[in-house]
């Protein structure tokens, strides 16, 4: 297969590595013979998960055919290179929705399995892998193997959340969720500080199928953790007035066409934005109807928003702190961040439900905090190491799909099922054909030291 040598980054635009790209167009060409390769769908993991320095990256974007849709039972079989956006375009008009969706629809189906992504409904419906009926995995020897929770189940749960390191995910069969409309009924709740934020998020009366909190990361002192909890559910017929009977959705109309200068996002501009956003969102006291796009994918309407952070890119730091000590842990993390005066344009807090079965899956019962942090200087990495220490102390972990800088030791401590995973990896891929810059950084094939 022809290759293209190019400098490649993840969505965070850090780090940059020279990689050899292969871009198959036929399904059979997914099984390429080259050594050291990693599949890459839409390149929406933030760090180095879909990079492979001086080695091969297999682009799956053209192997993206929808294969089967059972409209009665809501079961979709598709090639893994397809985007969630493409899937939604087909399934929403037929009354179905994705069972779990991350905050962008411009990700590949295979990527959702490999990172075992979660959405705003994890506390009710688990992560993406919980809704995958089966996958067809292309192994190191080129053979295809059907894996599900009943067939080759160990390999299945090593692949769900396995960051593409067990093989190439060729096809995915997914259980969809029924909806009555393409709209979401949303209710915002304002929290003036973190204490209020936690009590809102724990309140069963307020909770809804989907919930997510935006936090003003620049607020400190008595306002630390202030923000807005946004709850919603798929609107049913009765909740819609006549104005909302179309499934028409707004298309992308804005884009960031250039790299913003790095001074643009500084602590005062972000503070100002946050204050305005807080005012706007907390002003929405009545429930309102939103399109599924603007509820689930607010940032997708701004193409290439990652360029906002300038040429040097940014790191998204997403961690989870287990339930019992979550308030304490998140407080410490936010205090540390706020004291550092590093602006985080985006700070999101979400509840996660019980731990799933994916051996390297991120979610555990608790609260997850996600921060977008532009790279200005090396000091950021010092701060993030300090955040790691807090997360470790509280028994939490960092999300590999977002990560660009975690140490191998921290990874081992954070993922207790890693040894179990490694046994399967070494059995199924003894020559470590599937590897990535992330897997080498985390010494993922070397075991616990």
């Amino acid at each position: 297969m022809p290759t293209l040598t190019t400098n490649l980054t993840g969505w965070g635009r850090y780090p940059t590595y020279s990689c050899e790209l292969e871009r198959p167009e036929r399904y059979v060409d997914l099984s390429s013979s080259v050594h050291s390769q990693i599949a890459r769908g839409q390149g929406r993991s933030y760090g180095d998960a879909a990079l492979n320095e001086n080695a091969y990256v297999l682009l799956t974007e053209r192997v993206n055919r929808l294969l089967e849709l059972d409209v009665q039972r809501g079961i979709l079989r598709s090639e893994a290179g397809v985007t969630l956006a493409d899937i939604l375009e087909v399934i929403v008009p037929k009354g179905w929705f994705l069972p779990v969706t991350p905050g962008t629809k411009f990700v590949s189906l295979g990527g959702c399995v490999a990172a075992d992504v979660h959405g705003k409904n994890h506390h009710h419906e688990g992560s993406f892998g919980d809704h995958v009926i089966s996958i067809e995995l292309i192994l190191a020897d080129g053979s295809q193997l059907l894996c599900s929770s009943t067939e080759n189940s160990a390999l299945f749960w090593a692949t769900v959340g396995g960051m593409g390191l067990t093989g190439i995910i060729g096809e995915v069969t997914l259980k969809l969720t029924p909806i009555q409309s393409g709209y979401v009924k949303v209710q915002n709740h304002t929290a003036e500080n973190l204490g209020q934020m936690f009590s809102l998020m724990q309140d069963a009366m307020i909770d809804d199928r989907y919930s997510v909190a935006w936090i003003d990361s620049m607020a400190s002192g008595s306002l630390l953790g202030r923000g807005v909890v946004m709850c919603g559910h798929h609107a049913v017929e009765d909740e819609l007035s006549n104005n909302f009977h179309s499934t028409n959705i707004p298309k992308i109309n804005r884009s960031i066409p250039f790299d913003c200068p790095s001074w643009m996002l500084n602590s005062s501009s972000v503070s100002m934005f946050n204050a305005l956003y807080y005012k706007r969102e907390s002003g929405k006291r009545e429930p309102f109807i939103s399109s599924y796009d603007s509820f689930f994918y607010p940032l997708d309407t701004i193409g290439q928003w990652n360029r906002m952070y300038g040429k040097r890119g940014f790191v998204q730091y997403q961690c989870v702190v287990p339930d019992s000590l979550a308030f304490e842990g998140i407080t410490l993390l936010l205090q540390k961040l706020s004291a550092s005066r590093r602006p985080s344009f985006l700070a999101v807090l979400k509840r996660l439900g019980a731990e799933g079965r994916g051996m390297l899956s991120f979610p555990i019962a608790g609260y997850t905090l996600a921060l977008d942090l532009p790279i200005r200087d090396e000091g950021l990495f010092v701060l993030l190491n300090e955040l790691d220490e807090i997360v470790l102390r509280y028994g939490g972990r960092v999300y590999l799909a977002k990560d660009a800088r975690l140490s191998a030791d921290s990874f081992c401590s954070m993922y207790p099922r890693y040894d179990e995973w490694l046994k399967i990896k070494q059995r199924i891929d003894p020559e470590n054909k599937f590897s990535s810059s992330l897997s080498r950084r985390l010494s993922i094939n070397e075991g616990t030291r």
Partner: protein, 245 residues
């Protein structure tokens, strides 16, 4: 009114994008190529995304003796056929193509195979007295260059054939359009050095189908290739042969 279109060589990226553009109009499609697995996948995808009727069948451009029977089977399944897109092609390795055993295959697919199946399609549409044939040739057929002259010769011959066919079928109400793509971002060109102004397959697909609504019979895609090729064709031979193109 929607058409029923046969796409020959339906598994290439340009053909797939063209099928998508026809599907978006609600047309019925028959996809043909040598690769049954890919045909099944692409057909399923088009049905799901566009809710259209899609058939597929095996077709080998090189096996000209099978073309009659193949076309009969298309008519049997899709009797309303009104359009044909010839999208198959084979670039081959130019260095290897210096050896006739390799060059022969380039000609057999791009020219001989194309003429074989198009003759059958043309005769059918001529009787029907309406419809269209779209042939995908190449800018490589406009002037012989050392880097791909066997492929260029075959595609250039195809262009001439399509031109003649257009002339013959005009009076019978059948439109014949020659598409001359420049560089397109497909598996054929992926990673090749020295490419510029590369167009996406989606752009090609939309413009190929869009050409039916326009008057030009020879369409360069993207449009500026008409002028690039005009300049290239104007270079005097004594200079041209000294250039490394």
């Amino acid at each position: 009114m929607s058409d029923a279109v046969l796409i020959l060589g339906a598994t290439s990226a340009i053909a797939r994008a063209t099928a998508v553009a026809f599907a978006a109009r609600g047309d019925t499609l028959y996809l043909a190529s040598r690769d049954e697995d890919e045909l099944r996948r692409i057909s399923a995808d088009l049905r799901l995304r566009f809710g259209i009727e899609v058939h597929f069948g095996l077709f080998d451009a090189e096996a000209t003796e099978t073309h009659e029977a193949f076309f009969k089977s298309v008519i049997a399944i899709m009797p309303t056929i009104s359009g044909v897109v010839l999208a198959f092609g084979y670039l081959g390795d130019q260095v290897l193509a210096r050896d006739f055993s390799v060059g022969k295959k380039v000609i057999a697919i791009n020219f001989t195979g194309a003429v074989s199946i198009l003759s059958i399609c043309a005769n059918y549409l001529e009787l029907l007295q309406h419809g269209f044939i779209i042939g995908i040739a190449s800018v490589a057929g406009d002037r012989g260059r050392q880097s791909n002259y066997v492929y260029g010769a075959a595609k250039g011959a195809l262009s001439l054939y399509l031109q003649g066919l257009s002339n013959r079928l005009y009076a019978r109400g059948v439109r014949v359009i020659t598409i001359k793509p420049g560089f397109v971002d497909t598996a054929m060109t992926y990673g090749l050095p020295g490419l510029f102004l590369v167009a996406s397959p989606q752009y090609l697909g939309e413009r190929i189908v869009g050409s039916l609504g326009k008057s030009a019979d020879v369409v360069y895609l993207p449009w500026f290739w008409r002028y690039i090729m005009l300049i290239i064709k104007c270079i005097p031979e004594p200079i041209f042969k000294r250039m490394k193109l």
